[in-house]
Symmetry: D2
Subunit: 268 residues, 4 copies
């Protein structure tokens, strides 16, 4: 019997697999806060091979996503399957002399996104994420207008990890937030329960097409991290908030580019 | 000591109360399916005093809400507090010779909405609700355009109760869905654990201001109910689907109008 | 048509009602921490009519419950329906010259318990509660043995509110923790959306039968509260921890005793 | 900089990693139902290299787990981290002439268990699982006694997938349920987003020590599966229920044994 499915669980027809093969399409609303932390704290979360930017710049982003899969109509058809929220921190560095981004920590509220993220090298954990949604009418939530406040927060294991907000100042057509613009290089790491070196341990970045933004606004921002015994996010303490943005964002992931890691795994 | 708070829990400063006093503001996205069920099934879910419409007409609505409270800035400031999703069925009847609506069953995913609903007479239970969200860019979800499919489903205690979808056909500016237009008369019922008649048992409808719609679309729809040992929704089995809509909707609840119930409570 | 059901939603057969009538049976595992806070902080959370104990004594309790209803077999049959976890703080006072308990704040993770609690006057809110479970074999969790550590925590809206633990010292057959022993007097409060005085506003306590304890252990304890803009729990700051307990506990609620409140409602 | 951590996310001190290295300790309560399905349906969920047992025998198991990690005290210290519930189906076959078990489908409610499972080859998805808990006193839930009914169910994406129950008949000291006794051979599968063959694709089984059972009871059982567009569990339709069990169970996972897979991956 040959079992079918791009991911586990493999099954007779492949219907049961959690993650369908790419291309994967993403459309979402992003709320981002750019900040400065200690340069040493940024350097400390980069793998060997990626050179820190040196200026301590970083971003924290909350996203409310709808996702679909080109070869699996079920992901778009069932909103419980394709929708999810996530929150992540991005730092900046250089690889092969080019500016790149790195996501040391990320939390998500959906198992498809969790497993799909691990395949990419996103170091996802489960979290509860709340993000203000733009409303078109009424006063139940903020509208896309000057002075409106959009807030986000993420918690995990019942502990608040990060809270932020952006007060919209003005539309910024053509502004492309750095956190969304630079290629993100991940570490793919699959430990071997049988012992020894990891089964997979390399650097990877997604190959992305059809990137688009909509309704970009910039504004003043706030951001705070809280400590947890399970996290090291708080080491990236915001020293200065340099700005915020809110926008619609979309892209398609069609594959990945990979590189070997210079150094070995620290092992068990 | 006089404890403060419009609702439980009362506390020294009133900060802890779950439900702030009205006015309450609501802004949301509604996905609705109009259908025909057995007229007898509609009559069976109406309290004495409300005369059935007689044609078996009903609607099922999924809503993705942002809410705020005029006297409590915290509800809007924290998206985990003010946002929620709900799903409900509406039937139609007459009270005092006027057309009215009635919501026999409703499920929601947020405790503020749960408690606030009970105060109004909404017969809320906890449920998990998923609703397609309109996207502005990309292919991760449906856009507001002809042919786009918006889906919703609700489950409770791990059982799917209702699933529906609307395929957008055309914008319908000026169309006001009946499920959103008619006053909804609820039963307020508070049982007395000390025995005897209920502490509260009357009819009530919300006093609503600032009603507004946006981005109204109509389309073809599908709807299915599934049985559960904890529910009687399936008795309102859709015999014919008469149409669907999707729109932004907003209003403010400022108070309530009440009437005594003709008949007594069936008791324990 | 006469609709059936002890609580909302009333329905043709009464099957849909969320809360069945009493008697209700409860069996659970309780983890409790006794502590001393400022006497003034205790006085501040008591309604007029209840005299504070004066010594600042209080308890924080985490409970892992299974519940059933004598007249509704479905509550026991479906573990998703009858099981829940809750966390609450208890303070002590005197009413009519007798020692009583009062629960100013409580969080729960199940809608049946939420609605059933409101009917009793428990000021419940939704929360996420985690509690160590005793294991019989292996090392995956603590056993009921000297030195074992049982922990609990509660969060709401993604914020940690309280964390505690008890390190078992010795079995304490015959020990009856004060937090479980004294009658708890609640405020029943149902605001009127139509304005004016509340529809219900009195004091009530449950009539309880078949109280039983099992496997009572006492030990050293720890407890910490964290602040939240939505809560006033942190005002009951633990100044001194006086002990901890862990036990099985069971009882049946068969009804309630009520008294009128001396003073009026603070209104809107 | 060398990042630390056995799994993602790697971090400066290794504190942030989701999965600590083995040994991992597990203590739980298992509720199992043995059944017969079509032999062809069993054969269809086995990978090449594993020969079906031929008799269509299978088991469905609900487990309420506490887990800890020998080198990470936080997993036991925080019940939100180490506790989880899962539900899975087991079929039986032969590998190298020895009787083995295979878990084609499994659902879990905790991200640590999810990620730890993928490392082992457990094909985990997120699910909501409810399982009756044995009580020591009172009537809120079943006790470990003849005639008591223990129920379990699992749902995913708001759809019920499986429901079962066991009515206890008699204690069965020394009885070792087949579903817990046989080595489980998994497929480890890590797709490569960069294209081509999977990064990992082999067979693996856990190396287990310190296996123990407690409070074993056998009884009559019921089991039903429901269809979902995301699952193939329903193809393993129970034709006959052959028995049920409930027990405490514990073991330690210290590593894994692996074998190469005979055939290639079906690819995208």
């Amino acid at each position: 019997m040959t079992l079918q499915g791009w991911s586990l669980p493999q099954s007779p027809t492949g219907t049961a697999a959690l993650v369908p093969p790419p291309p994967w399409h993403f459309s979402g609303e992003a709320l981002g806060i750019d900040f400065i932390t200690e340069p040493d704290a940024v350097a400390a979360v980069l793998p060997s091979g990626i050179e820190p930017s040196g200026d301590g710049s970083a971003s924290f982003v909350f996203c409310d996503w709808s996702s679909s899969a080109e070869r699996d109509a079920r992901v778009a058809a069932d909103p419980a399957r394709g929708q999810y929220r996530e929150a992540y921190v991005t730092v900046y560095g250089r690889l092969d002399g080019r500016n790149i981004a790195r996501v040391p920590y990320i939390w998500v509220d959906n198992d498809l996104s969790f497993a799909r993220g691990l395949i990419q090298g996103f170091p996802k954990k489960a979290g509860s994420i709340a993000i203000s949604r733009a409303v078109r009418v009424g006063r139940g939530g903020p509208r896309l207008e000057r002075g409106a406040v959009f807030a986000g927060h993420v918690s995990s294991l019942g502990r608040r990890l990060a809270s932020g907000s952006v007060t919209l100042n003005e539309p910024a057509d053509g502004y492309l937030p750095r956190a969304l613009r630079l290629p993100v290089w991940h570490t793919r790491l699959v430990p071997d329960l049988a012992g020894g070196e990891p089964l997979v341990y390399d650097l990877a970045r997604n190959l992305v097409t059809d990137f688009a933004l909509a309704d970009v606004w910039r504004g003043q921002a706030e951001l705070a991290f809280q400590d947890s015994p399970f996290e090291e996010l708080a080491a990236l303490l915001p020293r200065e908030i340099t700005g915020g943005f809110r926008c619609g964002v979309a892209f398609t992931i069609v594959g990945a580019e990979t590189r070997t890691l210079g150094s070995g795994h620290p092992g068990r």
